[in-house]
Symmetry: C2
């Protein structure tokens, strides 16, 4: 831990089930997750609320969401601010709450992620994470960008498209027993993936995460006071952000995720942990190719070899590097502003030994990697018990 | 200062002139202000960039702005996140940068505010700071909300509409000699104000701040290291955020700005300063009525008496509580996401004794109050030398 930094722990989590076309409004979803997290920490009020949301200004016509939710939850007076980092927005909210507690400014802070994106318009709104002057005018989307990277990878390393199926298979297998997952109870086979619709060649429907609605929250406090709220606090061992050149076209090697590499390297250094010490890895698997490139960027595989970790079962729950252990973005769902907070909740479940049928044995250290836009923003958080 | 909190100082400032229809693009404006601030601190790189912007997703189709600007400025790798708190967004960026340094996570952090809003569509985009379910569907806007509060104040306290003119007069008098102000070199008289167009009765054109473009940035570091960058660091004595019920209609007394009162009270307590110790006050004078209500909320005047501080010259540069000393939102201009950072730059100029013809004699302590939406979010920052 850097000199003078106060240690921060998570003492409460709250999730609502990820759904398509949730009947609850955006604010109702946010308030529900917030209240579940506060009940979990057995507190009736917090000092500060940091809200991660990417799309409400476009899809619900609502800015200023943090104060709206604080007010709707009856917590007049508390600090409330909103943060955005494209598809890594939830992780940015976590970092803000971490800042607030680590700096001594807040005793109890909540990071809340909330997104309601299944009512239409999500693809265009998401594309605003790309360059509005030079990329989106040509019709660029995050999905198209990932399709290009996938093709580039297949060409460069002579890898067949089926090599990516195992990432989806793993995520769907894990989601089946997660009650909060969009695709719980659904059996997915490799044949289904290969037969699924080509959305933007070579990218198929099962290579992409679904558009959906969700909200999740975590309560943070000082580690020195954490046991007043829970018997099993989970410590945030480090938090780190790094950026890459904004446009993929400007990167010397488009298949190297520099922001992921740099933020994870920095997070490991600050926590004094080696990547091989990690019990599980919640990766930003918005697209299969991102899982593959992230494994390589962090150093778990050599360039061109990331897909082998999926093919060889390394990423399974009983493998040496369990990935997306409760379904990941692909099968739990990717309500963008909420995603990293869902992942944080799942990590807390794992480290507390409360992940039910999805439990990774002896989980002690966990890693969360969040990627914004075309991976131009990378946030890494490390957690331990 | 709270237990364990690291003291934070400002060691560089950068402003570009506020303009209508700037020929520079949003990102160019942001990069310019960022580079000016870094040159002022004599640094070529920082660890983190926190960007305040409210409207780019609507007006430029651009989210994910912090990483875009970090990349455009050539600073691949650094931390970059965006924050939003409606019209108080700039102050939220300042608080994030403060968090980053105070927590020990960043050694050098920049708070950058940037907004390009003069190309049309600003009024509708700004209204998204209100409740999208119950307020904006009825045509509610921030301007209309302020017109209602102004009428309510006039009725409740039997105050004539001309009582508000002195706030505009003071702001315009101060802007005349600020080279960065939108309305520099313009002489404004009480007759001009009273003769100006009624925009939404009783609110006249001169009671409202202008839609415009601007960018400003400040460089923060640990106070213990500040003199490595400047001979005259300015210390952030405290930073505080509070919220009110989101909708004005839900407040017991709509003329009491609870978020302003609570955040300022908390900031004074944390800095161990009395409000009467303040040398100058940069207030959120987006509308004349907000200046008046803010003076009352902070405790500088009793309810119904705030306007007298303007009428009696207390708020003038040679008064006991100089207000909006370089033109304020009204006459320097209010490019919303940038506004509080402009105010921070102006406070630094004042406390360094470099405010030129606008210098407040013996300025030692300064207060910045920022209000988001219909004053449902309040941020107070106190500064000293």
């Amino acid at each position: 831990m850097p000199e003078g930094l106060r240690s921060v722990s998570i003492v409460g989590i709250g999730q609502i089930p990820v759904r398509k076309a949730s009947s609850a409004s955006l604010r109702e979803m946010g308030v529900q997750a917030l209240q579940l997290a506060m009940e979990s920490a057995r507190v009736e009020r917090v000092n500060a609320l940091f809200v991660g949301n990417m799309l409400a200004d476009d899809l619900q016509g609502q800015k200023h969401l943090a104060t709206l939710i604080a007010s709707a939850a009856g917590m007049r007076g508390i600090e409330a601010l909103q943060v955005e980092a494209a598809t890594a927005t939830g992780a940015a909210a976590l970092r803000m709450a971490y800042f607030a507690v680590a700096s001594g400014e807040a005793r109890l802070a909540v990071a809340l992620g909330v997104e309601k994106m299944s009512g239409g318009g999500a693809t265009q709104a998401l594309a605003k994470a790309l360059d509005a002057e030079t990329e989106t005018p040509t019709g660029a989307t995050l999905l198209g960008m990932n399709a290009r990277l996938m093709q580039l990878y297949m060409d460069k390393y002579n890898v067949p498209v089926e090599a990516f199926n195992d990432f989806s298979l793993n995520a769907h297998a894990n989601a089946r027993t997660n009650p909060y997952a969009l695709f719980k109870d659904r059996e997915v086979t490799s044949e289904m993936i290969s037969a699924s619709r080509v959305v933007d060649a070579p990218l198929r429907l099962f290579d992409a995460s679904p558009v959906c609605d969700g909200a999740a929250a975590v309560v943070l406090t000082r580690t020195s006071e954490a046991r007043a709220y829970t018997d099993q606090p989970v410590t945030i061992l480090s938090s780190s952000v790094a950026t890459d050149w904004f446009r993929v076209a400007d990167r010397a090697d488009p298949l190297h995720l520099y922001a992921a590499a740099r933020s994870s390297h920095d997070a490991f250094r600050k926590a004094n942990i080696h990547r091989n010490d990690i019990s599980l890895f919640e990766v930003h698997d918005a697209f299969s190719i991102m899982s593959c490139l992230a494994l390589e960027a962090v150093g778990f595989a050599e360039p061109g070899q990331g897909w082998r970790l999926a093919a060889e079962g390394v990423i399974a729950r009983d493998g040496s590097l369990p990935l997306s252990t409760l379904g990941g973005l692909k099968a739990r769902g990717h309500p963008v502003g909420a995603t990293a907070i869902y992942q944080t909740c799942e990590i807390v479940q794992q480290l507390m030994g409360r992940a039910g049928p999805n439990q990774v044995p002896n989980a002690r250290l966990a890693m969360l990697l969040s990627l914004g836009g075309a991976a131009s923003t990378g946030l890494t958080h490390l957690f331990g018990v």
